[in-house]
Symmetry: D2
Subunit: 360 residues, 4 copies
Amino acid sequence: MNTFGTLFRLTTFGESHGAAVGGIVDGCPAGLPLAVADIQAALDRRRPGQSHLTTPRQEADRVEILSGVYDGQTLGTPIAFLVRNEDQRPADYAALAAGALRPGHAEFTWRRKYGHVDPRGGGRSSARETLARVAGGAIAAALLRARAGIEVRAWVSSVGEIDLNVPPEEVDVSLIDATPVRCPHPATAARMMARIEAARAAADTVGGCITGVATGLPVGLGEPVFGKLPALLGAAMLGINAVKGFEIGDGFGAARLPGSAHNDAFVFDEALGRARPATNHAGGVLGGLTTGEPLRWRVAFKPVATLPRQTPTLTVGGAAATIPAKGRHDPCVLPRAVPIVEAMAALVLADLWLAARAGA
Amino acid sequence: MNTFGTLFRLTTFGESHGAAVGGIVDGCPAGLPLAVADIQAALDRRRPGQSHLTTPRQEADRVEILSGVYDGQTLGTPIAFLVRNEDQRPADYAALAAGALRPGHAEFTWRRKYGHVDPRGGGRSSARETLARVAGGAIAAALLRARAGIEVRAWVSSVGEIDLNVPPEEVDVSLIDATPVRCPHPATAARMMARIEAARAAADTVGGCITGVATGLPVGLGEPVFGKLPALLGAAMLGINAVKGFEIGDGFGAARLPGSAHNDAFVFDEALGRARPATNHAGGVLGGLTTGEPLRWRVAFKPVATLPRQTPTLTVGGAAATIPAKGRHDPCVLPRAVPIVEAMAALVLADLWLAARAGA
Amino acid sequence: MNTFGTLFRLTTFGESHGAAVGGIVDGCPAGLPLAVADIQAALDRRRPGQSHLTTPRQEADRVEILSGVYDGQTLGTPIAFLVRNEDQRPADYAALAAGALRPGHAEFTWRRKYGHVDPRGGGRSSARETLARVAGGAIAAALLRARAGIEVRAWVSSVGEIDLNVPPEEVDVSLIDATPVRCPHPATAARMMARIEAARAAADTVGGCITGVATGLPVGLGEPVFGKLPALLGAAMLGINAVKGFEIGDGFGAARLPGSAHNDAFVFDEALGRARPATNHAGGVLGGLTTGEPLRWRVAFKPVATLPRQTPTLTVGGAAATIPAKGRHDPCVLPRAVPIVEAMAALVLADLWLAARAGA
Amino acid sequence: MNTFGTLFRLTTFGESHGAAVGGIVDGCPAGLPLAVADIQAALDRRRPGQSHLTTPRQEADRVEILSGVYDGQTLGTPIAFLVRNEDQRPADYAALAAGALRPGHAEFTWRRKYGHVDPRGGGRSSARETLARVAGGAIAAALLRARAGIEVRAWVSSVGEIDLNVPPEEVDVSLIDATPVRCPHPATAARMMARIEAARAAADTVGGCITGVATGLPVGLGEPVFGKLPALLGAAMLGINAVKGFEIGDGFGAARLPGSAHNDAFVFDEALGRARPATNHAGGVLGGLTTGEPLRWRVAFKPVATLPRQTPTLTVGGAAATIPAKGRHDPCVLPRAVPIVEAMAALVLADLWLAARAGA
């Protein structure tokens, strides 16, 4: 279904080339200061055309709030919002309308599941749907910041074979938006940008990873059995288009370690007046619940499936077809995916923060 | 909460050293042949003491079905089952009762979240809870096999630095249970077993990975937005104790690739009478829905946190404490985790298979 | 929360005097023919100003579909819709903004629950929210009609002390909309209309009942324990503003009867080729599941709380306040509530019809 | 499905003549004192054979707690419990096994929905399932009493044509259990008992009503749109076997009143320091949320369908069949239904009380 969350819930709607994309946030407490500008700022980090690295499509993506806010504060009622679609060029999608299957795309499975689909730009399978997640996540982030002192940040930590070799805890998050690639280390960012331009020059695309960190967390967020925080956060990340992997803490690296190297010993923290883990191999969770240490995770994105080159393919029935070279797609989705990763993480944490207030 | 699934739902209960561990499966259709032996066989693959690689705890783990089955077939009503706990040695847990925090364990977060905890053997945070998942998964697997022709299998694909270097599609699944380590390649299995024995000899533990594959899938299982199959399957895996990472298809490797190498081109399959992907970098999903190709994923387990050595630690308040060397734990959780991985995957697929019948 | 249903789900949003009221239908299968006119026709039966019996507020309530429909058919994706609010006269609500508590209204409880409220016209507690239910219900009704042959109808069966004395199975549903009061018996309708005019003349309001019937049902819709059809239908009805009672079949009358009079004996139906109940005291359900006989229920609405007269009252803090006589409210909500009752019943049945397809 | 509630959740299992009936309470906060005796006391009020008014079946119905309680307090983990079935006389049910349809019973709909059913005593459609609701409700009631000061009570307010003519607010709840019929007015109770004996003497059964009241409520429990308190409470009541009607406050009587008579005016309460309704026609809710006044509702039960007389009937296929006169059923379900009504109301209120803590 199209709803995410239990107590803080986002439902999204909209096809890429339909009338609008938007959503409803349900469960946001009353009395939270919220302005359209808070949401718009998040959307501006996701929108196409924001830099030379991204698609040249120009969409202003202006958000309108329809309900749930009065006199600058939330009412505790559903917050509905929408963004009208613009710059629709359905002619670009004639091959799809004729049934051509784009390799790596969703038409193949969608057509079988639904029978009737909107062929224009992927319809609802388009990443344009994530616009509504970024808007919803901006509301969640506002709640977390104002009520709980929790901050969520993410950045590009690899593009193709180029890795950011700075430990997450040493990253200067103020530099995330300093370059269009959203890697907070200028020298690495420059290499990543060159890598993306090289992909474009080769009429190709490139994948990469995003690292996320949340700070200011209390001890105990999460549910200890099926709803472990890694399960909920992982589902949030793996529900983003093009994501193929998720790890928390040392992740796949932990599978190589002996227990004596991976365990985080406890030390006494005078300032907190309690024990805490001295290291953070666990990435901020034990037994599926937050430890109060920074929550740290990493997400793998496959390369963009749409290549800027003419591509031969088939229809489901086996007829030869061609995907034309045009199309205005990103050679690398990572820079624009950073706000999506932040948004989905904020939605998870807002939901769990409300659950903890209920004693659950 | 302690419920997993939407239409095919498992709710589990039980503390490690309480009266019993068990669960309720709700939503299983009526008329499915089901015997206690079907569930017992799955539990026997998970139970302690089954080989020299695992804990010497001897627990028969006999399951009793309390409801939902009549005359050898399911009734469509809740199927409740339980396993009585045995071999309880609460004296082993005196240090925990006194508040000692085991590194890498859940006491730290549980005590803060709940205040009142059962200190005996981790209580509900013990992996003994997964017994109920294996039982529930056996029912899901029976449904998938009988009604849909879907099979789920998993095996140990790495222990520490030792990898199984056989492509998943070439693995002989009939060999999974041929060795106690559940790696279906005898030579690699032998090396893995030696690695586990070496960990035990060093009073240490070791992590590793499990690979899973599901076959016989129709096209289109999954929900295309938040409930993408990788999101649901990932949450199922990341909700297993000790899991730190999940990837589907090429996973983190996909993040290194250009689109031209990662995309799976379509070919026409005469036998199926339709197009299908010629390769399976995607791991059996496109747009979050199954493609009908084998579903392939990998799960990373951290090393067992309980070391068979005396370990100094603290209480939450900072008092010095010692975890004694005794305890009867596995040096490597991987062999016993194979049926858990299979169970959780079967639960996800049974749920989605029912949803597809509803047209959702 | 603001979502109704499990598989066929409606989420609504909007304050009475905010920018818009609307909703999202999630879970409607793909390929269903759906036009804006189908929804508009339902809204026109609910809108204010449609006859002399209702409020003189004139609101066109034009609905716009934002997503989920392409080329005249549903896509299987969320169907979002909205109606812009018009005819806003916030000046009417100065007393409320100052904290006056209207007897019988929601301000008293809303202010305590949310702290921050929209005082204009009741905000979200206004019955204007039901507009979105009627729109969602029109989609459910289209699905039921096209795919399952199920029809839902409702009519006014009492106003104050005036009852429609025609057994539900003998009612001519084609006459429901023949009079503005929506009682399908012209002579009784005339008396009801006179009763409503009398209330208006007395600066008072009046309550009444609506009877609903659904036909074309298969045997077995519903869930047999907590989700019995009467429970789900009852919740749907009792969630409508001003509803104070619900009964199914003989309802409260059944509590007076001996079992020998209430039981519906079985007879063999040649046309159906199976047994069926000869009478329908049960109202179309046994064991919480539909019997295939007409589903029959009745709903009690309290009189409209807003009286067209100046009313002294208090603020929460105890200060004297006055509700002015103006305001443009209905003396009787029943005629406009008929499409709301039909809509909520259609939502319940569409949800259960999808569940039955899943085998649940 | 077989789960009730959102944050405080009860899942039940068990067939009438299977191994056991029981359930799992999930979401109960940790640290609540809870003893087996608390649950047993509630079950003893529901069990068969407790007085001459009820079935002579003798079942001790001893409850066992399997998990979730340690050292006399809840752990915050699932509380599983079961009652073994005894006194099974499957021979009583030979006619059912042969396919006879009992008028007023669930076989007709269950056989069509599930195909495979347990014919012994109604299987899961038996009211024996409500045993698990009473146990779960006892836990909810303990939570409400200890943490919130909320009390839920119910009593028999009519049997057949005999009504209790005492306003609910004047009832002496200490007399509820003073007579076997659970009507807290001895003279009326005597008449009701005679009425039940008369039904038995006539080889017939009789219906009636139960009135419930909850006190100690805060202002604002409930959800203002679909989850209005009357909707949730009504669904809880209408999900009880044999219930055909529900009303809150003046209920169906409100539909006869003018607004000027039904509205509850506000007065200032010096002790509370705030305004409150002077009367309680509304039954303790406004806008779907609690007002802090006593919550008052009424539930209609149809007469018991099983008559103590030989009854001719049919199979689904139309073959003549006979329901034998034996069977050990109650002539009136009301006295034993009182704890069920209390239990379901406690479950609803515990759930909403937790939700309110989350700010929802």
